[in-house]
Amino acid sequence: MSVLIFAELEEGAIKKSSLEAIYYGSKVAEQTGTTATALVLGEGSTDELAKAGRFGATEVLHASDARLNEGNALAYASVVAEAANQEGANIIVLAKSSLADSMAARLAGKLKAGLAANVIELPDLSGGFRVKRSIFTGKAFAITELTAEKKILAIKKNTITPEETDATAPVEAFSPVLNDTDFVVKVTNVEKATGDILLPEADLVVSAGRGLKGPENWGIVEDLAKALHAATACSKPVSDLDWRPHHEHVGQTGIKISPNLYIACGISGAIQHLAGVNSSKVIVVINKDAEAPFFKSADYGIVGDVFDVLPRLTKAVKEL
């Protein structure tokens, strides 16, 4: 018996959100009196695998087959299912991500497991197995009971604060059966921003909307983001107009983020935009219109012109 945690690699490193999941999984293992096994798929360095132990895993399973380097949801689901069976794991923990979401759904189908997504707190085991999850893009929470024997918990990013210790965990090689049927979808091309801080994982985000007037003005947004080591994001019209790439657009129809800090520049704060960012810990709004609805959902506000305010903020950050 153990809690199995799926730890996702990004360019060979365990993602920050997966470290949160490992920590979460280790706490669930404590609650249920079992051990916490982290499963890492694809090539990863010894240093990276050691991280799993420092964040709470008591054992690491590592399937280093190069065919698993490409995040393939179908193959990953089969491998995680095999590991869960081997470990006798009835509880599987993972961090929500574009890959993990697809993987988790296939896994739920395979194992006939109850799947709770966007989990934000440790389970409540007093009478059943209950978790609190965010629904309606953060506008409400549902206390959900998982009634099936097998359970999958997909943790919302940046809601669990992990603690790192100097614990170590043994790493065991895992050689799963890989089925050709899981490799029928062919990847013909990948285009991905490299080097940048990826928006879904970012702690700090500087975002801008139509108030910026045009793509040629994004320099002031990028400068502030760079000074803060933040990722950049945008509103939907901005990506619709092709000022910025689609994967930067946040909101109801874009991605949902929950960073520590979200700075919104020249964004009105439409409810569909808020849906993507309302679980950010601190929200700053800069808008020249004092009546902009976004101020109602903000922690700090500046009524001002972004073309004046942003460069000054960048300068102030550099002087910190």
């Binding site: 890959l99 739920a108 006939k112 309606f136 490299t194 800090l261």
Partner: protein, 245 residues
């Protein structure tokens, strides 16, 4: 080509969520229900593909009778017929079982869904259905073209996108900009009234999760306003007060 589009009936994106019955139910009073925005993308692309290549588009909803206005709207947009599985959509596994049962009976070339429902935000149903049918599922799909029996797909990944090729049949979770949302025209609305909407009873009853109660998030504190001429103060407050930088 036979296409199945699965649609949800969900509260409008501008809905303010309130609770009733001692916080065990969402308050439906005064709430406007719409087709899930992502499902709308799936349907619009299905109708475009049908217009280009021929075939049929069937709309499927697992839901109670109050979902029918949303289903009729999908027919007005261009679906040929509709199926409603008459059951409360209790959880993703249950819904997937219903969709898989309908799909087994009618063998579709493509099953299009939204990337996620905007109420429970699971993003699960397409994957579970794909697993149940033993065919690939891909999500979130931003671009879809069909050439013979091959689908050419662009999928969004974190920080970019990837191009994929796969044989049919497939289950896809769709998002923008796969197609422009279509708005029903008068003729569409008139013909929708006579299109076939079949109501079937649910095939299985496996519910693996159950909501016991709801909560609303605590209100954010008041917004601290900083005069524009003192904008630099913000950076200091973010460090010393909010402690986020």
């Amino acid at each position: 080509m036979k296409i199945l589009v699965c649609v949800t009936s969900v509260p409008d994106t501008i809905t303010k969520i309130t609770l009733t019955d001692n916080n065990t139910k969402l308050n439906k009073a005064g709430v406007q229900f719409i087709t899930g925005p992502y499902d709308d993308y799936a349907l619009s692309r299905a109708v475009e593909l049908k217009e280009q290549q021929g075939g049929t588009v069937t709309v499927l909803n697992v839901g109670e009778a109050d979902a029918e206005p949303v289903i009729r709207k999908c027919l007005a947009i261009g679906a040929d017929d509709a199926i409603r599985v008459n059951a409360e959509p209790t959880d993703a596994y249950f819904v997937a079982e219903q969709i898989a049962a309908v799909a087994r009976e009618n063998s579709y070339d493509l099953i299009l869904m939204g990337r996620e429902s905007i109420d429970y935000n699971g993003g699960q149903v397409h994957g579970i259905v794909g697993e149940m049918l033993g065919i690939p599922s891909i999500s979130p799909v931003m671009k879809l073209d069909i050439e013979g029996s091959t689908a050419k797909i662009t999928r969004e990944i974190e920080g970019g996108h990837e191009d994929l090729e796969a044989g049919l049949p497939l289950v896809l979770g769709c998002q923008e900009p796969i197609a422009e949302w279509k708005i029903p025209n008068m003729r569409g609305i008139m013909t929708a009234r006579t299109k076939k909407l079949t109501v079937v009873e649910p095939a299985g009853k496996d519910t693996l999760t159950q909501i016991s109660s709801y909560e609303l998030p605590p209100a954010r504190g008041a917004c601290k306003m900083i005069p524009a001429e003192e904008a630099e103060t913000l950076i200091r407050l973010l460090r010393t007060e909010a402690k986020v930088i």
